[in-house]
Amino acid sequence: MSWQQVIFDLIIALILVFVLITGFAYMTFAERRVVALMQVRIGPNRVGPFGLLQPLADGIKLLFKEDIVPTQADKPVFALAPMFSLFIALVAFAVIPFTVAFSFTISGNHIAFSGALADLNIGVLYVFAATSLAVYGIVLGGWASNNKYSLLGGIRSSAQVISYELALGMSVVGVLEITGSLKLTDIISFQAHHIPNIFWQPLGFVIYCIAAIAEVNRAPFDLAEAEQELVAGYHIEYSSFRFAMFFMAEYINMITVSAFATTVFLGGPLGPFTIIWPWLSGLIWFLIKVVILLFIFIWLRATLPRVRYDRLMTLGWRWLIPLALLNILATAVVVALTA
């Protein structure tokens, strides 16, 4: 593990963080534009060419806002909760392979890149661990605000997240059964030799998608942060940059969940033909797939009405979890018979 390799990995890590944060910013812009187009209007197109500097304007506006901390709030926790949410959201992306493996030699030193920043052999488990930790940010944010409604919003949101975590995890177990490995690059190579996993695990994919939308608190499962019902839920009392951090955490979670879906079900950086260099081609295919999934997130938000909270919980516990278990059982039987 030469120091050149370490430097390279550090550079990739910094680029990744930068890309995620810029991706978040333009995700908000894309959302406003796409939702507007679906509502027979155009979104923001005034700030910069075609409105492309809108996220910058929004960011600057948010930073100028007054940072209000409630007097009776638990100040250390109040400060830490959004930071924690954002940290976990960013960190979960570390194992996602966003390009194919490549290596090169620079002045006699061999530098290898596996496609993901950290290609852990328990990659899938790592992603689920990170998304599970995200609950802390929500619950602590709701609690530390010293506001009944904030607490209620935080509790509802965290109950929703932990319920759907189960379905999310179990929907991927089917893929693990056929691939036989938790390592994300192994799952990609499996899909390179066979067709993408969405064809082997269609039910798993559907369950994953529904559970992912509920995990990220996105429409139609966004009751916990609904402006109309709970006045923004667990982040009511947060203003200025603290709110921006919660906001960033939510959108980056959305990007991570989409990226994980493309890795596990859609073949990640694989694509029908190579564009110039393999690593560039892998990156482009990965981005195309993630962008399509993010578009579907926005499309669902523009179309569907909000699901009532008790129906949301019913869906998670009484339908998705049994279906996911059934999927695991059926896949296990097929794998055992065909092995």
Binding site: V34, L37, V40, R41, I42, W299, T303, L304
Partner: protein, 166 residues
């Protein structure tokens, strides 16, 4: 065949999503201000003007009925007597001072309805935004329409000059 909630629900979602997707490609109703300006309806209540008669006299007789009718209490009228040497309006009085506080005006048009001579009229100008609130107190000079005799004279002179050039 018995109704299946799952099938109905899924069909509804798919149809809804197809509709929103198709809407993305339809013509949008947004009017891009300031490059495009949509016209307003004939009875649109915009900025106020103080009208004149064709002989140049002001229609406003300083009766202060508009100030009384205003629900936002934003009109100030100071009446003064018309003298033989200074005749501003046909009648006994005229408005020496007429101010409307546009930051309080709700553009309801009750002043227009209350006016007995049709002096205060709401026209179609709606682009009244400003950064400076004191600028929003519109005085009589700002709202009074130009003297039609002066306007006619200028137009005639311009037409004459245009005719002479040709």
């Amino acid at each position: 065949m018995p109704r299946n909630a799952f099938l109905e629900g899924t069909t509804a979602i798919v149809k809804g999503m197809a509709l929103t997707f198709a809407t993305m490609f339809k013509k949008k109703t947004t009017v891009q201000w300031p490059e495009q300006r949509e016209g307003v309806k004939p009875r649109y209540r915009g900025r106020h003007v103080l009208e004149r008669y064709d002989n140049g006299l002001e229609k406003c007789i300083g009766c202060e009925l508009c100030a009384g009718a205003c629900p936002a209490d934003c009109i100030l009228v100071e009446a003064a007597e018309n003298t033989d040497t200074n005749r501003v309006s046909p009648g006994e009085r005229y408005a020496r001072r007429y101010e409307i506080n546009m930051s309080r005006c709700i553009f309801c048009g009750l002043c227009e309805e209350a006016c007995p001579t049709g002096a205060i009229v709401l026209k179609h100008d709606y682009e009244l935004a400003d950064f400076d609130i004191p600028h929003m107190i519109y005085t009589k000079e700002m709202m009074l329409v130009p003297d039609p005799r002066v306007v006619k004279e200028k137009l005639d002179r311009l037409a004459q000059e245009a005719g002479a050039i040709r």
